[in-house]
Assembly symmetry: C2
Homo-oligomer: 243 residues x 2
């Protein structure tokens, strides 16, 4: 970029046009696909054909490829050379890594969050928790799952560290995938009242209890998974037929 140089003195504030309209479109498509994955409307393993996506969203394959690559770097889709894209199917190891990482980062952020949280934050968090409960009650699992991930991401952002907040957001997205593969139907992710309890601790300024609670909360989610190595691909024939 240009560090010095004229800043285009004409008007300064007057951005002529929404110069990024194409980019915004891409952003929108990215969100569409991302949401569909997080909400389990696209299950792990589902193939994402470029042609089909291009037709659905009305752009050419070039743009789709760009979006798929971004999704791949976010580890929501897997790009197999010459085979195309599919929704990532997290392994058991990855699941463990993700939850360990969440344990470290989300708990580590709580003290700073407790220090900086404002009334507006509390209000918004309560609203998100309420909508999540409501979605759960009315059986909209997809919405509830996304709202749960949103809650954790929004919470992390309060700490004021954009880098860590982005990281947590991605971890939450991946957690959604993990729930889709290893979660038990009926018992999805966060307990319905956990988030509300967490808000109470934060509102009381009790960072330590909030931190401990977040730790238990994440452990509870992880414990609710049935992590069994599916071994669907490349079964070990030697081991199976060794005797």
């Amino acid at each position: 970029m240009n560090q010095r140089q004229t800043v285009d003195e004409r008007g300064g504030a007057g951005r002529p046009g929404k110069n990024g309209d194409g980019a915004e479109r891409h952003e929108e498509i990215h969100r569409s696909i991302s949401d569909a994955i997080i909400e389990h409307r696209l299950r792990p393993g589902a193939r994402l054909r470029e042609d089909a996506l291009a037709e659905v969203f009305g752009i050419s394959r070039t743009g789709i490829r760009k979006i798929l690559q971004r999704l791949a770097l976010e580890q929501l889709v897997t790009l197999t050379p010459r085979r195309g894209a599919s929704v990532t199917r997290p392994t058991a190891d990855e699941a463990k890594d993700v939850f360990d990482a969440r344990q470290m980062v989300e708990c580590g952020l709580i003290p700073e969050i407790a220090r900086r949280i404002t009334d507006d934050d509390l209000h918004e968090l309560r609203d998100m928790a309420r909508r999540e409960r409501q979605a759960l009650k009315s059986g909209e699992q997809s919405t509830a799952i996304r709202l749960s991930a949103d809650f954790h991401a929004r919470l992390a952002r309060i700490a004021g560290n954009a880098t860590l907040a982005d990281f947590v957001e991605r971890l939450c997205s991946r957690s959604s995938l993990i729930l889709a593969v290893y979660g038990n139907p009926g018992h999805l992710g966060c307990e319905s009242h956990d988030h509300d309890d967490l808000i109470v601790y934060l509102e009381a300024g009790n960072g330590e209890r909030a931190q401990a609670f977040m730790g238990r909360h994440l452990k509870a989610i992880e414990a609710s998974l049935s992590i069994v190595e599916e071994e669907a691909e490349a079964p070990d024939l030697h081991r199976i037929f060794s005797d």
Copy 2:
């Protein structure tokens, strides 16, 4: 240009196994650019024109764009719509975020690292630290900077959590950029003997001391920066001429 004038005989069975070379080639180019940025051979703000890169590496702009996008997601380059790519110039806020994140994650990983570290790991780390010292002594700053980042990344990987290790690796890359902008010449990043000291603590199985040392180590790097908001873009004329 480099049109492959291969025969159109698509049934030709005798294709030499160049199946994955394209992807590997891209990986290689990514590494090349990434290293150049981390080693400060490409300074923050440097423009990266697609045509030029395409010509240098002998592929078309399509491949270059893919790589630039990946670098953008890693926050090593900044993609400005309609303006192209340039090496990211981290802001002071970003610098603080990155070092806070490193403090949390790298220190948080130390206990597990101390638990799992093997003799092979120690050997390799010692070798990296030695090469880093050597590079410093012989004035090869670029190499030293990269080796320092590699050391931290390699250390993090010992903990066995790929997700967190990848995160640390990216944080270290960004730290290199931060050093390029805010670092004082002559005093670059890690002290020459710090890494060796850390190895000693780890070898002794003294996780607590290692953890404390890592904390001081990172704080020292951060403290050595002259983080002054450059304010290069959009200087606040009102403030400057207010009196």
